[in-house]
Symmetry: C2
Subunit: 371 residues, 2 copies
């Protein structure tokens, strides 16, 4: 099996289960998916996965590596996902820890620009970036435009739609994008700085592609995407569009893949690995200390994975949100450092002197962050 890729699993063996049988079952389930006694010998050799190694992690929990023929993917990302975690998603005790992404470079494109490409394109030196969300759902395009202007005047780098702003009559997609692009442009002219607007383009995959192109046409600087809703395999398609806009990926609807310790994926491998190689320039994750279920250790590992050198792939910006309070920035800066986008929503809106003032305080701090 010369052309293969390797997946690393965490295997939890239930009472009465046998590790080696569980591994053999994975090798079959994710390939020929039938009893081996009726599979022709040549296909057993060419197509079935092969256990490369296993070692204990702790009582009843193992780390195991299986090699898969790249030819089984047919060089299509959808079928890769199927091999990675298709039918085994219905079994207990199997979690994906890592994938040898470098072996899949011809299949999985990675971020088009990523951290260094975006810093160069946007002329932003090595410093932490700020991001905020336009809210709430129900606001009109005019109100969202006004908010965009205030945030930009306060120096926020990236102003994105809340992920719940879709195409509601409150603020239809095109009306909203036009209003926010115009507002950010005005602020840019007044400040002499560049601020960036990312509309949410999530719809069904066909609407999403249309909105991606429309966002570029209307002058947006990037897009917000919910991969798990518009279709995970939509993201690499957008990333490979000519003149594509940077993609910020939002974790809505994806939590079930990462919140259980014995199934799914580690948050690091899912967001910092899979979503990065699928083309995300930014991956939003739910920060510790917020409304969600993430531990500090998970967050640090995820943050690190986004920037881990992987042969052939640009790094992507880890973008913690959902638990970033403007009053605790020192803590987050020391935890995550400069190659991170800090997504701060609610606490900016709550500043007693308004969002422009709140934004100015935040961005002054980020731009002055000492080495």
């Amino acid at each position: 099996m010369s052309h293969s890729f390797r997946i690393t699993y965490q295997i939890r063996v239930a009472p009465g289960e046998e590790l080696e049988k569980k591994l053999r079952d994975i090798c079959v389930e994710q390939s020929v998916e039938m009893p081996l006694d009726v599979v022709p010998d040549n296909l057993v050799n060419e197509v079935v996965g092969r256990v490369a190694s296993y070692e204990p992690i702790r009582d009843r929990v193992w780390r195991a590596k299986i090699d898969w023929p790249i030819a089984n993917t047919g060089m299509e990302i959808a079928q890769f996902i199927n091999i990675l975690y298709g039918n085994i998603s219905m079994k207990h005790g199997i979690r994906i820890l890592d994938v040898d992404w470098s072996a899949l470079k011809d299949l999985l494109p990675g971020p088009r620009l990523g951290i260094s490409g975006l810093r160069e394109k946007w002329s932003i030196p090595v410093r932490p970036l700020s991001c905020t969300a336009l809210k709430p759902m129900g606001s009109t395009p005019e109100e969202l435009g006004r908010l965009s202007y205030e945030f930009a005047m306060g120096g926020i780098d990236i102003i994105k739609d809340d992920h719940g702003l879709a195409n509601q009559s409150y603020a239809f997609f095109e009306d909203r994008v036009k209003a926010c692009v115009k507002a950010v442009d005005e602020a840019n002219q007044q400040t002499g700085q560049k601020h960036f607007y990312f509309p949410n383009i999530t719809g069904d995959p066909y609407q999403t592609l249309t909105r991606y192109r429309k966002a570029a046409e209307l002058g947006a600087d990037g897009v917000l995407l919910i991969p798990q809703i518009c279709g995970l395999t939509t993201m690499p398609k957008l990333r490979n569009e000519i003149d594509s806009l940077p993609i910020m990926a939002h974790p809505s609807f994806s939590g079930n893949y990462i919140i259980h310790p014995n199934e799914g994926f580690t948050p690091a491998c899912y967001y910092g690995g899979l979503w990065r190689v699928m083309g995300a320039d930014f991956v939003i994750y739910a920060n510790e200390d917020g409304r969600f279920s993430f531990s500090r250790n998970d967050c640090l590992l995820l943050n690190d994975y986004c920037r881990r050198p992987i042969s052939g792939y640009a790094a992507c910006f880890p973008t913690p949100g959902g638990g970033i309070n403007r009053n605790k920035m020192d803590k987050w800066l020391s935890l995550y450092g400069k190659d991170t986008v800090y997504l701060i929503g609610g606490s900016l809106y709550q500043h007693p002197d308004g969002i422009r003032r709140a934004s100015t305080e935040l961005t002054t701090l980020l731009k002055s962050d000492p080495d």
Copy 2:
């Protein structure tokens, strides 16, 4: 809130958590997603979810109903998914039990044909249907064609691709479809019966749509789709195509939404509810007693949900697989009855006298099933 839809949740309250606060948090998280003290009063009234009722199920576990404005969906399915289970997928202790689908009929199309429509179109009286899968991955189009012919000669109603047959060089999509359509046509002419071939069309959403149209053009009778991989919102798009083919939905990559008792969805609501209203004519589920993690109770509830009368929606065929042995058909028939498609793979291949003989035995039994 006159135009609203209702979602029923199971809420598990962790030690230190308070039920009413957890419900209020859901109402906010899945709508305005920001602190209510900075949301304008009119939007609190118009946009935020409203708790309708709650009642205890058992210690620390509650059943709660929340009403949501339909306008929040913008009449787009992607945004409906976001409201249904977007950010809360990252929280523990929230599970979807049911949705008032009838209120969403203008948004969610349901099966195009469903059980009664397919029986009429295919002239199949009320009896159990048989289905099998072409395997293994690695086979050539000629080999798959030969298998199709044998299964059809044995009387199998629906012959589908294994869900791992994508577009690999082993058997490219078009070559495979042509070979299998031709083989099934030949058998149909010889038997005077009708047998149906469903190729797997799963790719990225754009490939999937192209293959859907190509499958129809090449004479396939329906398609196999992996909604969670090609994009959940791809399915209703296909269902609404002119002259669309019946859709059989496969659960690969979806297990994490249903295998944990306190998060995600019940299998019944996910497959029999959500996938049905999204347009599946058949939903495959992992049968009890097989390789997967489903209990008998889960299977019975799911099977029932597929056929439950829901105003405005056709019923879809429950299609148990992955644990249906040809030697235990009496058990499954008495459990699931006649409005079920029995998907039998491996055990047909293992019959000592070959797959045609195995298929004949099975289909003779199914066609003779007494009232």
